[in-house]
Structures are given as C-alpha cells and as structure tokens.
C-alpha cells in the first residue's frame, strides 16, 4: 500500500465517532500524565493494557497514541511553570522556559511550546508516513562508533550552559558524569558506586536529579535567602505570543523538528540528544538581542527549539517500532506487548500484514496532534495563573509536587533521600554560583558515551582508529571539533584582521 492510499484508508477509519472519542480520551489522559512528573506515558499505557481484553485493536491503539502524544505536550508545562521536568526530554525546555516564567513571560513560553509541539508532531508524523522505512534503513547503518561521535558532538553543547566560570561549569559536569556511573555496568554486569544499596543498582534516575537540582535546590535556596528576596507576587504578563515572539519561534520550531525526527528513529537515539543540540544551535544562531536573554530573562528560541525537537523525536521513536518491531523506548515496548495481546506479531512485516491497522494508527496521530493543540492552547491562560500564587505557597507547592512525583517514579524511599540530598547540593551550588545544567547533561551523555565507546572498541577489537576510519564517525567528530574551536579561531582571525 502506498502512503497516500494508506493514509486515506487510515483517515476513513480514524474519523469515525467512536475512534475520535478514543483519540480525545487519550489526548486528555496523556496531557494530564504529562503534567505530573513521575507518571509517564509508559506507565499510563501499562495501566490501560487490560482494556485490550475488551476493546477492538484499532480503538485501543488510537487511545494509546493519544496518550503518547499527549504526554509529550503536557511534559513542557511543569518544566516551564515550576522548573520541574516530568521526563528527560523536557529537561532542556526548563532551562529557558522557567526563566521566561520568572520574568513574567510564562504565557508565550507555554504557547510556543504547544505550537512547537504541533509543528513538530505534524512534521514527525509526515516523516512516519512517507520516510519511515527509508530513514530506518539509514539509521541501521550507524554503529556504536557513530553514536559515540554524536555524543561527543553533544558534549560541545555543554559549553553553552557552563556559565561565567569554566572551572565551576566543568566541576558541575564532572559531578554529573560521576552520578551517571552509578549502577550496573552494562558491558560486564558489575555494580559500580552502589555501596550495597539495591535501589542504586539501576542507577540514579536523571529526571530525579533534574527535579532535585532545578526545583528542590532552587526552593531551598530561596527559603534560606528569603529575607533578601522581595515578597512580590509574580507578574503573569501577557498570555498570547506577540508578533515578535512568533517571528522568533518559527525558525526554532522547524530546525528543532528536523533535528529531532532522525534522532528519534535511531535505535539508540532518544529525545535527549536532539533537545541539547537544538538548544545549542538556537543559542548560537540567535540575534544579539536574543542572546542577551539566554540564561538571564529567558529566550523564547530556547523553548521553541528543544520542545519541537523533543516532540519530533518522540514521533520518530514510533518508526523502528512500526517498521522493524523494535521497541526503542519504554512506551514503544508496552505498545508492542499490546500488539501481542491481540495476537499480532509486530515485526518487519507489520505494514504488509496489518496495513489497515497501522495506517489507522498513523492517521490517528494526525488527529491527536490537532486535538492536542486545540486542547492545550486555551489551557495556557489557566496554567499561567498558577504563578499568581504568592511565592512561599508556590514554592511549598513545588516541593510537595516534586516529592510526590519522585515517589511515583518507583515508590522508593531511597529516591526521596536522593532527591533531598541532591537538592541540598543544588542549594549550595546555587549559593556559590555553580551552574546546574551541566550536571544533568553529564549524567545523560556520560553513560551513553561510555557504553557506545566500549561497544565500538569491542567490535573493533580494541582499535581506537575505528572512530576516524569509519566515515560517519569521522564526519561527526570533525563537526564537533569545528563547533568547539571554530568560533575561537574565527575570533582570533577577526581580531587580527581588525588590527
């Protein structure tokens, strides 16, 4: 079935009253769980799995897709308003988003995230419909050496969040790298830095660390320094995006989407790397006035780009699931088990054997995307009003929210101890001007880079030249070097030319 015929069949199935109802229910549930940290789409779909005994396959998958896309929309809300990212893909959104909210621009931040999600969701879904099988064949050509090179490239983005002092920034980065080491080493199965605590065997959850540093640390710091802070109610400011907000967001939406989708398709890609790269790109490409806003009052480009990248990557994750039957995320794994409870074996033949179901599912992604933007834009005004709560109450609320969310991740007291332990470290980091973002970046990239490097070296029998003799890897490494030293060399050259 060619894509056009498939889509028209899919839409004719998806646009029935019952299926639209499932899509709406899914979008609503998904937005709700996206807003709550700790409860993600994977857990929600797992809780909904028993409906597969009762509901026909098409309806169930439309519901699941609605939840999946909805959670991606909702994930940015708490990042922006409360500096409390609900999942790893929205951590970068919090960097600029929370600063925008603090300077009275929560409305435009939420709106650009919602519209950006729509743009990215649509581009991602178009990608699934027309490019899926092609992109996945390309993605399979990338091996661990290329993944390692990609992560090196992402490490360059740390330089954008290091802050004023490179020493402090790098200290933060290494703290993150150390946290990333905790847990069982994949290659050997041996525990590292776990100190005999079974909860640490699986490593420290990166969302927990982000919440601890961004939300808990900040709150504790404010409580500590409260006498210095002016007791002011925050301004909510204008809700809608201005013409200039819109103009500044369009580029990042599209760049983020085109960056995010291929990363989502990569079997070991995920949503974190493209959000980092998008943030770095937008920061570098921004106009001089916008550059001022980065890291200070919050730049809208830094929300629009990463949020679009996150959503496009999330759409991309469905490609290996639908074309090869490979679940490359927790949510995809659960959707695959739902396929199995209908007696459908997802694999490379899924499109041929279950064409109608797959195309209906893809069509329902377009439907969900439209529903979500319609559902979410009016909510922006409502959400932004949360900031009218006076600061002491608001921050107390954030602490409660962060605590409940973290307990929800795994119902473990160890996680709560970690949350507050790392939160106190975050408070001192804030006090002594250590940036917190490099911790999270180190924690995400460190373990991925380490495993990719060791896989590559296992395959090359310990030959380090594999990173420069494989063309893909060499190209990406060259890019990384250019991104790192290029601006400096250019600066020196420009000054020479002036002098």
């Amino acid at each position: 079935m060619d894509p056009i015929a498939g889509l028209s069949l899919g839409f004719s199935n998806a646009l029935t009253a019952t299926n639209l109802g499932w899509a709406l229910l899914g979008c609503f549930l998904g937005t709700a769980v996206g807003v709550l940290p700790g409860i993600g789409p994977a857990l929600t779909i797992a809780l909904l799995l028993p409906i597969t005994f009762q509901v026909e396959a098409t309806g169930a998958f439309i519901l699941f897709c609605g939840v999946f896309y909805g959670a991606m929309y909702g994930g940015s809300t708490t990042s922006i308003l409360l500096n409390t990212p609900g999942e790893s893909g929205s951590i970068i959104t919090a960097l600029e988003g929370a600063k925008m909210a603090r300077s009275g621009r929560a409305g435009p931040a939420l709106a650009t995230a919602a519209i950006g999600s729509f743009v990215a969701g649509t581009i991602g879904t178009l990608g699934i419909s027309f490019l899926g099988p092609l992109v996945v064949e390309f993605a399979l050509k990338l091996g661990p050496a290329e993944y390692f090179a990609l992560m090196v490239l992402c490490f360059v983005t740390v330089s954008a969040v290091l802050g004023g002092s490179a020493l402090r920034g790098l200290t933060s980065l290494f703290f993150g790298l150390m946290l990333g080491l905790v847990g069982i080493d994949l290659q050997t199965g041996q525990p590292r830095l776990t100190f005999g605590i079974p909860e640490l065997l699986d490593g420290v959850n990166v969302v927990l660390v982000a919440v601890a540093l961004f939300a808990v640390g900040e709150t504790l710091y404010l409580a500590w320094r409260h006498h210095e802070a002016k007791a002011e109610v925050r301004r909510v400011g204008s809700i809608m995006m201005s013409r200039s907000d819109f103009r500044r967001s369009v580029g990042p939406w599209f760049r983020g989407s085109f960056l995010g989708f291929p990363f989502g398709v990569l079997p070991a890609g995920g949503t974190e790397m493209p959000t980092m790269l998008s943030y770095y790109a937008e920061r570098k490409l921004a106009s001089p006035e916008a550059k001022e806003e980065f890291g200070t009052t919050g730049a809208i480009e830094g929300v629009a780009g990463p949020e679009a990248a996150n959503n496009a990557a999330a759409a991309g994750i469905l490609v290996p699931m639908l074309t090869l039957g490979l679940p490359t995320s927790a949510t995809a794994a659960i959707m695959l088990s739902a396929f199995q409870s209908y007696g459908i074996n997802p694999g490379p033949l899924l499109f041929e054997q279950q064409g109608a179901l797959v195309w209906t599912l893809i069509a329902s992604l377009y439907v969900a995307n439209v529903m979500l933007v319609v559902l979410n834009l009016p909510l922006v005004g409502l959400w932004a009003r949360i900031l009218k709560i006076p600061q002491p109450q608001l921050y107390a609320g954030i602490l409660v929210f962060a605590t409940i969310g973290t307990y929800g991740i795994s119902n473990s007291v160890t996680d709560l101890i970690l949350l507050y332990g790392i939160g106190i470290i975050g408070m001192f980091m804030r006090r002594f001007d250590f940036p917190t973002a490099p911790v999270v970046i180190g924690m995400i990239l460190g373990p991925m880079a380490e495993q990719a490097m060791r896989q590559a070296l296992t395959i090359s029998q310990g030959d380090w030249s594999t990173f420069v003799t494989r063309p893909g890897s060499a190209v990406i490494l060259t890019l990384a070097v250019a991104a790192l030293v290029g601006p400096r060399v250019y600066g020196v050259w420009a000054r020479r030319a002036d002098g």
Binding site: A139, L140, G143, D202, S337, S410, T458
Partner: protein, 314 residues
C-alpha cells in the same frame, strides 16, 4: 528507568461466570521488571487464565524494575513477607544477575512454587554477502579467534553472555575470550545485528523470530534441546554440547508455605486455556514444581556460577 505500576483489575466485572468457588479470593503478582518484557508477559498470562477460569477473584500486578530483578527482589522480601496472596515472577536472568551483582538475596531466599515456561535462544547473523552463511562458519571463526567475532547481546552476565561463554568453552577455548558487545534492552541489540554492526547476535527466539521470518536476519542455530524451527539446527546438532533455555517461573513470599500456590498453579496448568495461551505466545511448557523444581534451581545456580566465574564476572 524504573517504573512501578499497581494494577488492580476489577475481576468481578470482567471475569467469565465463575464455575466454582475461586481457590483464592485475590492474587498479587510482583513483577521485578518493566511492563512490556518477558516477566510482565508471563504475569499477564497468569492473570488472564486464573481470572478467566474463575480460579482467583481479583488479580493485581506490581512492577519494580531494575538490574534484571535484583532491585525488585529485596523489595518483595521486605514488603511481602508472610503474605500468602503474593507471587514473584523470576527466571534465568535473575539467577545470573544475583551472582554478578553480588546481591545479598537470591531466588534461593524465596519458596519455589513452579517453573512455567521456557524459551530457547537463537544465534543469528546479518543477511548478505560476507556474513556467516551457517553455524559451522561461525563456529570455525570463533574457534580460530573468539575476539575477532563481535557478538551482540543483552548485557554482561546475562543469559546471552553465558550462552556465548559456553559456546566458546565448548570449542576448547577459555570463556573469557568471548567478545560480547552489550546493548541495552529494547531493540538496540537487534538493530546492531540487522545493520551488520556486529557479525552475530544471541538472544531469545521471541525477540528475533519476526526479523528472521521477514528475511532480515539469518538464524544460524537455536540453543534448546530440540529444534524450534524445522529449518534451523540446534547447537547440539552442530556438534556443540550446549543447551541453554531461558526459563520463567513463580515463587511465593518468604515465610509462607507454598502449598496453596502450588495447588493453584497446578490447577491453572491443567486448564485448556493455559495450553492455548502457551501456543499463542510461542512459549514452551516447562511445568515443574515441588522438590523437582527446587533441585533444578540448585543445579541451574551452580552451572551459571561456574560459567560466570570463568567469564571473570563472579
């Protein structure tokens, strides 16, 4: 990522009309892994049959994932001690993980109830020119230099790694020479072999079946005692005295005599619905209970430890 879900299915509403008084009013199944994996699949299969057949009134599932079950095991032991309605799902991967992680608790700390299913592994190679055409070619290359044949699998110390170690051992070399490129679960290991990044991969038959059927991968050999696919030889037929299967079973809560649970599993196993489920999922029936299951567990642990020691992981 660890996720825990508590799921209380409303059995009364969904169950078929109960034929008789249920054997247990409620059953709480503890899954030490994420939803979507093999242990979760077994738990949901048990739920479907015991509830559908009216053997149990209400079934709840709880997930505590991480480190091949060694995060969930201590949680189960502390939270469910002496709880007669609790079942713990475990299997091969947990036997090895408890050894490599130096876990203070192992499956030996739980009263064994029943082994339910087993699944053989498969050795696959990428399609196309220059890749291994059959198992003999792969064994030849491994015999010459195991380090020169990168093989992907699910992680150090997992059943995939143990299988590779046993093959290398059977070829007269030291297991530690085996080169496993470990990829995290969820498709990365499969992607590496489909894309030709590694020269072979070892994994569960179920993980690779669809890729083999679609002609994306070549099945070189299966690791069970008998053929799964009539066209694919077993390792034993290829002259390698290695039989590895991934078993899955259930255990009771510490401090509870497992008799009632054993009776429940026996009743479930006798129902035609269980047989139908096994066929639908492609699981082999490996029902074993009582002292025979306990003896099997002991042998399994001793053998796994021996291989892991030779791999330098225990």
């Amino acid at each position: 990522m660890r996720r825990r879900g508590l799921l209380l299915a409303t059995g009364g509403l969904l169950a078929a009309p109960a034929l008789a008084q249920p054997m247990l009013p409620q059953l709480s199944i503890f899954v030490p892994a994420n939803p979507g994996g093999g242990w979760d699949g077994l738990a949901r299969g048990i739920e479907q049959v015991v509830r559908g057949e009216g053997l149990v009134g209400r079934v709840g599932l709880e997930h505590v994932a991480g480190a091949a079950g060694t995060v969930g095991l201590p949680r189960f032991v502390t939270q469910r001690r002496a709880r007669a309605d609790s079942l713990f799902v475990g299997g091969t991967a947990l036997v090895g993980a408890a050894i490599t992680n130096r876990s203070p608790l192992t499956l030996a700390d739980l009263p064994p109830v029943a082994r339910l299913t087993e699944e053989a592994g498969v050795v696959v190679a990428p399609m196309g020119q220059g890749h291994f055409p059959d198992i003999a070619a792969l064994l030849e290359a491994l015999r010459a230099d195991p380090g020169a044949v990168p093989v992907s699998g699910a992680g150090g110390g997992t059943p995939d790694h143990v299988t590779l170690g046993l093959i290398v051992q059977a070829l007269g070399r030291n297991a530690i020479e085996a080169r496993l490129a470990a990829f995290p679960g969820g498709g990365a290991a499969q992607a590496a072999v489909v894309g030709g990044q590694v020269r072979a991969a070892i994994g569960g038959w179920g993980e690779y079946e669809q890729l083999i059927r679609a002609g994306r991968l070549r099945a070189l050999a299966t690791t069970g005692a008998e053929r799964i696919d009539p066209a694919v030889p077993t390792l034993r037929e290829a002259g390698i005295a290695v039989v590895v299967t991934n078993w899955r079973g259930v255990f009771g809560a510490p401090g509870v005599r497992p008799d009632a649970m054993i009776a429940l599993m026996q009743a479930m196993h006798e129902r035609p619905a269980w047989g139908a489920l096994l066929r639908e999922r492609g699981w082999a029936d490996a029902f074993l209970t009582g002292p025979a299951f306990a003896a099997f567990l002991e042998t399994d642990r001793v053998q796994t430890r021996a291989v892991l020691e030779e791999l330098g992981l225990a």
